[in-house]
């Protein structure tokens, strides 16, 4: 019995089961491993809430590691899903969640926030979010009223906006010489160390509707993959659907980026990996990217925490160091 001969429902169930298991395991690992080592019995007791009151391990696990793992999961899921949607929408396998200038705009916003000495939350996160929304708006205005070559000009104006923003970033970084420089570089490489339970809760409330909208647009995404004209003939209002997808996806990516900084490669590698494993059907790919992308970033964050015994290593370093070779490998295998 091969994978593709299973009914869609069966395949969907498998994806949810395996993905859910993977996510649970990653979360458990992310909560048990860290710079305060403990035996698995103590960890298990703390996880299940059976340890003695005021146990220091329980506090570490539930106050520090839990929100951080959850944040990693949310950001990973968002970036993977964002990559998946943009790759289908632009019919370009190299599109990533930052393609429309989201990264550039939010980085400029975040760095301005750091320079002004704002707190990581809500100050820097809010400025990062506003920055990315500003660039998105700019890109949308540039490409409005261009029915024919919209995809090409979307890509190009995104690239241009990002290029301009990275020049601004380098300018800002090079005129800064104090301790704030360190924070900036951390943010640019992706950093989950600022997660707190409140941010995570807020982020869940904001991201869940975005995930839901995209889940409901799985079939339209499949149709868009067949080309805009075919999608139209199959009864899809292409203009409205693409706009909704564009805006919802950019919104959720900039929400995540505002919290985590620029975590690269997740949005590129995870969707491609699942496309190779599961085929092109978005009804399977969307849940797979949510669960699998979340797990991937939780595990990468775990590695970055374990590897750097002193201080912290930005998780973006690990996602890129694992992601880039993995991506090349996939590319070579798929030929």
């Amino acid at each position: 019995m091969s994978w593709s001969s299973l009914s869609l429902g069966r395949r969907w169930l498998w994806v949810i089961l395996v993905g859910g298991l993977l996510l649970t395991l990653s979360l458990a690992l992310g909560m048990c491993l860290g710079s305060t080592p403990a035996g698995w019995r103590r960890n298990l007791a703390a996880l299940l809430g059976r340890s003695e009151p005021r146990d220091i391990l329980t506090t570490i696990i539930w106050r520090i590691r839990w929100p951080r793992a959850l944040m990693a999961g949310l950001v990973g899921a968002t970036l993977s899903l964002g990559g998946l949607v943009f790759q289908a929408l632009l019919r370009n396998p190299l599109a990533d969640p930052y393609i429309l200038g989201v990264s550039g705009g939010s980085a400029v916003g975040a760095i301005l926030g750091l320079l002004a000495g704002l707190a990581p939350f809500p100050g820097v996160a809010l400025l990062a979010f506003l920055g990315s929304m500003g660039t998105l708006l700019l890109v949308l205005v540039i490409t409005t009223g261009e029915p024919g070559g919209r995809k090409g000009s979307l890509l190009l104006s995104g690239v241009m906006v990002n290029a301009f923003c990275s020049a601004v970033i380098i300018f800002l970084v090079s005129i800064t010489q104090d301790v704030r420089l360190h924070n900036m570089l951390y943010w640019l490489m992706g950093d989950l160390s600022m997660s707190s339970p409140d941010h995570v809760t807020l982020l869940i409330y904001l991201l869940a509707p975005c995930f839901l909208v995209i889940l409901c647009l799985a079939r339209p995404l499949n149709l868009l993959l067949m080309g805009e004209e075919t999608a139209l003939y199959l009864g899809l209002n292409v203009a409205v659907t693409s706009r909704v997808l564009l805006i919802v996806t950019s919104l959720m990516v900039s929400l995540a980026v505002g919290q985590s900084g620029l975590v690269g490669f997740v949005g590129l590698v995870v969707p491609h990996l699942f496309r190779l494993l599961l085929g092109p059907d978005h009804r399977l790919l969307i849940p797979a990217c949510l669960l699998g992308g979340g797990s991937y970033l939780i595990l990468c964050d775990l590695v970055s925490r374990v590897l750097s015994s002193q201080g912290e290593m930005p998780v973006g370093v690990i996602t890129a160091m694992v992601g880039a070779p993995l991506f090349v490998l996939l590319l070579m295998r798929s030929r």
């Binding site: 339209p220 499949n222 004209e229 139209l232 199959l234 209002n237 092109p280």
Partner: protein, 276 residues
């Protein structure tokens, strides 16, 4: 009296400043096999796209069974009209069954989940176009003929009343061409579908078309039964090249022969031959 399947009134479409269709009016009766012919860039594909609601006319209107196309939602229109476009994306490894099931899109609910009935219709459509044995094959592995039959199966799966095809035989070998045309005739006769097709093959058009429309530069040159449209004068006027016309040995339809340049000079003076 049922209204005509397609009624085009004073249609004018331009891309930029370039007018493609100029004041075009046609009528396709319900259940007809209607074939649009004409030279390159005469507006055939644009006419098809206008009927399918994919281009907005500058002037004039298109009606389907008496209702304006522009008043339909995309989904409602796709339940009545199916299109087999000239080019389709073949780089995405969807399986044949998945592609055919996409034809159910205008019928399934907003969550996009297929019911057992949808799967049945897809199997039936695949059997009808003889691609059932390919159901598990990914799209990029298909040959041109197989691909065309898959796209037609998808259109059938859509359960349309009107089927629009843009040069469906262009990339096919003779056997596949005839198979496809027979399939269309079968659909039209057995299921009462109205078929509107753009074709470059004048002989196929003569043999299968009940009504032909000859277009040139976005205007009607002639429209009517094959014998009335396929005449020397009209074909030469539209295409600007000489053709030979006689009766097809299979029956009372015209047969068109294209004439290579070397036959145009003496001793094969075509204009002489024609006068005899």
């Amino acid at each position: 009296m049922t209204p005509p399947a397609v009624l085009v009134k004073h249609l004018q479409v331009s891309y930029g400043r370039q007018p493609v269709l100029r004041d075009l009016s046609i009528e396709v009766p319900e259940g007809a096999f209607f074939i649009i012919i004409g030279p390159n860039s005469s507006g055939k594909t644009t006419l098809l796209r206008a009927i399918a609601g994919a281009v907005k006319p500058q002037q004039g209107q298109v009606e389907i069974w008496g209702a304006l196309v522009s008043h339909f939602s995309k989904k409602a229109l796709a339940r009545i009209v199916a299109v087999v476009p000239q080019r389709v994306a073949t780089d995405i490894p969807f399986t044949v069954r998945e592609v055919v099931l996409m034809g159910r899109s205008p019928h399934v609910g907003w969550m996009g989940l297929e019911q057992p009935r949808d799967l049945e219709l897809a199997e039936e459509a695949m059997t009808f176009t003889n691609v059932a044995h390919l159901a598990q094959r990914p799209l990029p592995e298909l040959s041109g003929g197989e691909l065309q039959r898959v796209i037609i199966a998808r259109a059938i799966c859509q359960q349309p009343r009107l089927l629009l095809l843009d040069e469906p035989t262009a990339a096919l070998d003779p056997a596949h061409q005839i198979n496809l045309m027979d399939l269309m005739a079968q659909l039209q006769q057995e299921r009462g579908l109205t078929v509107v097709m753009v074709s470059h093959d004048l002989n196929l058009a003569a043999m299968y078309g009940e009504q032909l429309l000859l277009l040139k530069e976005g205007k009607t040159v002639q429209s009517g039964r094959p014998a009335d449209v396929l005449t020397y004068e009209l074909l030469e006027q539209a295409y600007g090249c000489p053709v030979l016309l006689d009766t097809n040995p299979l029956g009372q339809v015209p047969r068109i022969t294209l004439v290579p340049k070397r036959f145009l000079g003496p001793p094969f003076l075509i204009h002489e031959a024609r006068r005899k």
